[in-house]
Symmetry: C2
Subunit: 477 residues, 2 copies
Amino acid sequence: MSFLREISPMVRSIHLPGQEVLMSRAARIRTELRQGIKKDFMELIDLSSSDIHSRGIKPISFLRQVMAACCYPSLLHSDRIPADARERARSLLTDSNGGSIGSYPPTGGMAKVRRSVSDFITRRDGGVPSIPEHIFLTTGSQQALTIFLKLLVSGEGPLRTGVLVPVPSYSTFSMALANQGGVMVPYYLCEEQGWALEMEELQRALQAARGHCNPMALYVINPGNPSGLVQSRKSIEEVIRFAAQERLFLLVDEVYQETIHGEDTEFVSYKRVLFEMGSPYSSTVELASFHSVSKGTFGEYGMRGGYVELVNLDPKVMEHALTFFNRDGSGTVMGQIALDILADPPQLGDPSYPLYSQEVQSIKNTLLSNVRRVHSVLNGVPGMSCQPIRGGLYAFVQLHLPQRVIEQAKEAGVEPDMMYCQRLLNEAGLCVVPGCECGQREGSYHIRFCIGVQEEIMEEVLQRLKSFHSHFMREFS
Amino acid sequence: MSFLREISPMVRSIHLPGQEVLMSRAARIRTELRQGIKKDFMELIDLSSSDIHSRGIKPISFLRQVMAACCYPSLLHSDRIPADARERARSLLTDSNGGSIGSYPPTGGMAKVRRSVSDFITRRDGGVPSIPEHIFLTTGSQQALTIFLKLLVSGEGPLRTGVLVPVPSYSTFSMALANQGGVMVPYYLCEEQGWALEMEELQRALQAARGHCNPMALYVINPGNPSGLVQSRKSIEEVIRFAAQERLFLLVDEVYQETIHGEDTEFVSYKRVLFEMGSPYSSTVELASFHSVSKGTFGEYGMRGGYVELVNLDPKVMEHALTFFNRDGSGTVMGQIALDILADPPQLGDPSYPLYSQEVQSIKNTLLSNVRRVHSVLNGVPGMSCQPIRGGLYAFVQLHLPQRVIEQAKEAGVEPDMMYCQRLLNEAGLCVVPGCECGQREGSYHIRFCIGVQEEIMEEVLQRLKSFHSHFMREFS
Ligand SMILES: Cc1ncc(COP(=O)(O)O)c(C=O)c1O
Ligand SMILES: Cc1ncc(COP(=O)(O)O)c(C=O)c1O
């Protein structure tokens, strides 16, 4: 009495991605440490995800004060919560159905929050208008991306929808695309140029795809995960021109827009550049931009709050999009509250402003300091190299592995960087993601780790990594 | 520059379900009332969903106190929050990654919460054991059902997976099944017998399905939505025997288990009955049971917290289930906190017990009183009849419509009960769901409305409904 023999063949072909294999090994190691089993390290450090709170980075107080008061409205009268946080909570509760965050948000999201997000975008983009009705609030940006792929992907055989996807990239997107039956068309970022997005490579990828599938969209991640690339305005203009010429829909993943490292780098949104390019681009290129409360200094990964803004969509497509977001994209009031505060934080003069800006600045300082340490320490280690990390939450470090490592991995039937990560986890208690999970040029090997962690811990990570690496390299030399 | 011509044909065939058409009309009416446009009613009352907070039923304080303290841990020192709520918050925070509810919950759900749920099930089922590792916490029970359908549904043509689904039922399940490519095999509940689930009808449905599809699972909703049926132990035993004999997987939707109306009705879980039936049933019949924080006295619909318990699954299928729930089913820490409190509420002797039990009892009293009023008022209205409502949150009322209504509806190309609901909404400001959205026997017509609302409002609803109904019937007689 089992339906195994009949289980969907698609299901059977799904395997745990390498990252999850490592994560479940990490969970086992944690249990063993708790049971007192001796290891060469006292504590496991998991830098595999961008979940900064899981590593002890503290949430932003203002956000949590508003949430607490929304949860339990008696706190609207408590002086443990600053006046502006109470005020915000009051207005969010007024906008919740029945005045409770336990009710279901309206389709598309709470009206007040959609307005906040739209104002935020307009301010960010130097006045480029944004329409609240074209913004959909979802359960994290991943859900918004998945819904969008459902809308986009169709066809069979050589007519299947193709999407140009950067390599390296983050694996959840590629999995969602495959899941939807779409074809991934890889374009390689140029590592030697700081993971630059080069137009010849986009051209090559598109040409190679034609005939195999129907390339309809171009996915970009800016700032990059895992590349750390932040595109210049010029680079964005080139991509937009390319999309216009090739009639590609632009899927722009801008979830890391709040984390830019250093004064000399600036985030400019695709939408802003598109509008500032003027006609015909500004009125014809179709674009969807994604953002989230999971990243940046908020790091509210567990809240699952995200949005997508749709630009220049055909009104008929817009109607379908509406149906889709209405049916599948709901989100929780909590996630939407977090978005409201991301979009409309305390301003100079508000009671909560000093603490808020101090907390945000402190996390930004931590990130910048970590970026600098990663760069200076790891670029000094023989057999490692790391491009500048201009934005985002990750370091993506190349490993120059000896031929013997590659051979031994091949014999074991595992990717060389996966083997490296397994040993790094077992021997040094560091959980990082192998480059093979993100995609990389054939014959190159990488590791990815999150830089969102306290400075002392980052120091410990770098020491463990350096020491493991030199042992490992010696063993195989 | 539009991908409309290429948009997925599946997408194009999706239409807004009738309930959403009514809801968007309702939203328009609300706006018009706010603008001061005169109507025959002062306020719109929306009873189309089970979202009780949206209609002003207050959340349970203990739950919200724990949530508030989890959001903003400074409140762990505030005496605005009772000691046991603070204690609970502390223990939930300890179990959250990094001590923050903003971190991502572990795959499957927080260990503490899975244990609470497992203990809850064991207590509820008189000691039948429950394994925390076989419980998966999800973003609402709807997500758990959808993930399960992904696992279950496969095949093409006459080999497509069929699922027996009660009629009437709740439309989201049928849509998810269709979406997954599964075949809905309807079995009709017997209205005259208080919507009883009869074995001959199950047999008939199964026979009719064979050859058209591959019936693999039986979906039951107990207590029923919209039927209000609560199955007896004997009825459940019959269904289990049928499932065993026909080798059907049991999908048991028990999200309304906390709302049983009146002393003479009792909820018994399928799992309990299964185990008390003993061998061979207890070790062979595969079963998945779903529960949620959306319903009952909690009504935390917007929190999106649910779970599924899997029983007797083949270990190989279990492995696939794990992969699926790991990949798609994440949930938020907030939803899991709500589940923890559903599963482990304050006990006699705890500081919060008196208020907690008073709040729960008050909601139960409201529901019972509403059930009685619906029954006594509507069964006295010519052209209406209502079976006993033993459980759940809905009244499902039969309309005995004159032939002329049916003809006029046919001319207008709309279902007769949909026409009734549209006019009820426009003329009396009541938003309810037509029976055609739930499924009903050909030639019978119904409306469904939620009974989770304050008594005064229910009184107003019944008066408006009665008055509209008699006008409507007179118009067509
Ligand atoms: C580039 C990118 N896009 C989207 C997401 C998904 O974010 P969310 O948590 O909003 O679903 C991630 C998360 O890792 C990401 O790295
Ligand atoms: C029978 C039934 N099952 C499941 C659900 C979904 O509940 P949740 O909010 O947990 O996703 C509903 C909601 O209306 C329902 O009526």
